[in-house]
Symmetry: C2
Subunit: 376 residues, 2 copies
DNA sequence: AACCGGATTCAAAGCGCTTTGAAGCACTGC
DNA sequence: GCAGTGCTTCAAAGCGCTTTGAATCCGGTT
């Protein structure tokens, strides 16, 4: 049996701590609309309208109200507002806490900090739900039935992703960071043109004379990883070149994995002359592997990576270290958040979709095939 | 001028998309209390009480109500509830997004996922605010005046931390993960006994015969780092041993920093025989540095680290790799969240405080001073 | 002088829930 | 037969806000 609580009644936290006989002295420190309008000698309607920017308030009154609001440090109680409007003014991010905690994926961190910028610009809050594997569905349902959020953001979409149909079923608006390629129906997404970007990047390496090109990819049930491999394959196929399975990896994108992969590949009878990786972090491991093998990146082995422009893993300054397909994940967060909010507020419009182009940016990590290997 | 919105009126998102003439057919999919009690032929009062576990409901009625709630998938609208109770049922985490984004600090990730467990157990939500440096104060004030949260969690407390007095001033309950040692007044915190742990750990190394012990610490404006250094110094001083400033570092706790630090120290005329680090991540870098120098960890150089039991950086299995002072940061998150919620609901009680003991766990990374160096 | 219409302002209803204070009910004991 | 007593249940008020529909004001017309 939970303890019984009485309503807030205007008392602030410090006052709640006062002995009972003194509580009467607690004048609410936090102005509410009723107080404010009484102070001003106006109705709540007028004050509310003035502060929300509606036109039917005279200029003089508006100025007076705005000043008073500032002076008394008034901010509308968001819970009350959302009850009245039916909007939660919050966006949910549901993160599975598997063995590998998605929350400290640096891509996630940058994306979310971009999205947060947009949220706060529009007065939305960010609700973070960390859930054990398997509780995800229940969490989405609860978010909906409690009316905790107006919509949710979907991270790391898979090739086949059950979340999309679930959310459509329960009627919770959502936006996908990436895409679910297997899906036909329209939904809100923002993605990088991974396939085209990797095709172009592969072409770039091919033009430099490389033929044995390795791909150290992310796990290929993830949509983006699948797309990148397709782009890679497209480019190779277009020139009628075979792909050596020994030069293809699909795994988590850690430094260590990048290191091991390149070490193993360099130990092959016919090692690659160029490597493409799906993440800066893997690329950094790759560089370490190349150096540890006594080779020089950009001369002996070329490295081309996708660069999410993570704030934590900058790709050099003016002259980038790694040649890369480049697209800011933070910017993606900002933009997709705009789309989601638009989608929430315009349910009748077709859901916003956006495909960003990743530009190819040449750095110091790529160069022509070393003369010694041209034969191979 | 913002678009005008009408209240929710029971329509769900898919129905909002229907052409106007069909909207009337939208029976609210999401049961609310009024509907539910009408269905049951009971008053809202009774239903509410039954579901909230109050005693004044007959057993038979309660069972009937609970069944109906389950059948209709009813969950109370959390916004309405919190308006009525005056509780927000949410906890805020305010994270500064500086150049180095705190959000992807693995310690933060584990702590927050521990805390989230507790939150959801108690029906609280987790509100994440990412703020630019300098906007922190404004954010806390806004959280308070909008009544968005019942309390906030303070991460990475500094030796002198302005957040504590700010929160006391605005009357927002808080809990500190760590402590602010300079502070006298009582507040809610949970900390590891860093000083004692590092003193004991140092003693352990001293007992193994080590005399030249290095400390690769976190930035020492952070309270925990200061405490650890104090513990280290205490132990050295207690045996009348001098500390070589060349063996003390205080920096971010990355792998790279650990690597560089040990490489530099091993290049000294009198290199250390043992190293203490403040984080597993630094320790991993240290190990790499030792190996790259052609030495063997645990034989040539001992390494002792603090182990937060991060899910992402496990310290081996049954037989740990690193000897460590050990305390689960995830467990800390769980417990401190309990404390914060208690504190919020019992403002008259003294704020909960807890000091966890970090146990010393012997692994393979430490051993007696190598014979060749005993002389030094 | 009465009337009109646009510009302002307002009182009241309602969002979905909790909680207060009171009422209904079936017994018990006198 | 009636007040007294628990045990259940209820109607209504209120949380702080938005929004509807109506009222008021005021200068300009008729």
């Amino acid at each position: 049996m939970p303890p019984r609580r009485s309503a807030f009644d205007g008392q602030c936290f410090p006052c709640l701590g006062l002995p009972t006989e003194l509580k009467a002295y607690c004048v609410p420190h936090h102005m509410n609309l009723k107080q404010l309008s009484k102070t001003l000698g106006l109705s709540q309607t007028t004050v509310s309208r003035a502060l929300n920017g509606y036109p039917e308030v005279s200029a003089a009154t508006r100025i007076r109200i705005e000043k008073a609001a500032r002076d008394h440090n008034y901010t509308p109680n968001i819970r009350a507002r959302s009850l009245a409007t039916g909007q939660a003014l919050a966006i949910g991010h549901v993160i599975p806490v598997a063995t590998r905690n998605e929350i400290m994926n640096p891509v996630f961190a940058d994306f979310i900090s971009g999205a947060a910028t947009t949220y706060s610009k529009h007065g939305y809050e960010l609700l973070l739900s960390l859930v054990e594997d398997g509780d995800e569905e229940a969490t989405y349902r609860k978010l909906k039935s409690r009316a905790s959020v107006d919509g949710v953001m979907i991270h790391s979409p898979q090739m086949v992703d059950p979340r999309v149909s679930l959310l459509k079923e329960i009627g919770l608006p959502f936006a996908v960071h990436g895409r679910v390629s297997t899906l036909e129906t329209p939904y809100c997404w923002l993605d990088v043109n991974n396939r085209a970007a990797f095709r172009r990047a592969t072409d770039y390496l091919l033009d430099l004379g490389h033929r044995r090109i390795a791909l150290i990819n992310g796990i290929e049930t993830q949509d983006f990883a699948y797309q990148r491999r397709s782009g890679f394959q497209d480019a190779m196929a277009a020139r009628g070149l075979p792909i050596d399975p020994a030069l293809m990896r699909a795994n988590e994108m850690t430094e260590e994995i990048g290191y091991r992969a390149i070490r193993e590949m360099l130990a092959l009878p016919r090692p690659p002359t160029a490597v493409m990786t799906s993440s800066m972090i893997t690329a950094i491991g790759t560089r370490r592997g190349i150096e540890d093998a006594g080779l020089i990146m950009g001369r002996d082995v070329s490295v081309l990576t996708h660069d999410d422009e993570l704030s934590y893993f900058q790709n050099g300054g003016e002259t980038p270290i790694f040649t890369s397909t480049r697209s800011s994940v933070r910017e993606a967060g900002r933009r997709l958040a705009e789309h989601l909010i638009y989608h929430i507020n315009h349910p009748d419009d077709p859901p916003p979709q956006e495909l960003l182009d990743a530009d190819l940016r040449v750095g110091k990590s790529t160069g022509p095939v070393p003369a010694t290997r041209i034969a191979s």
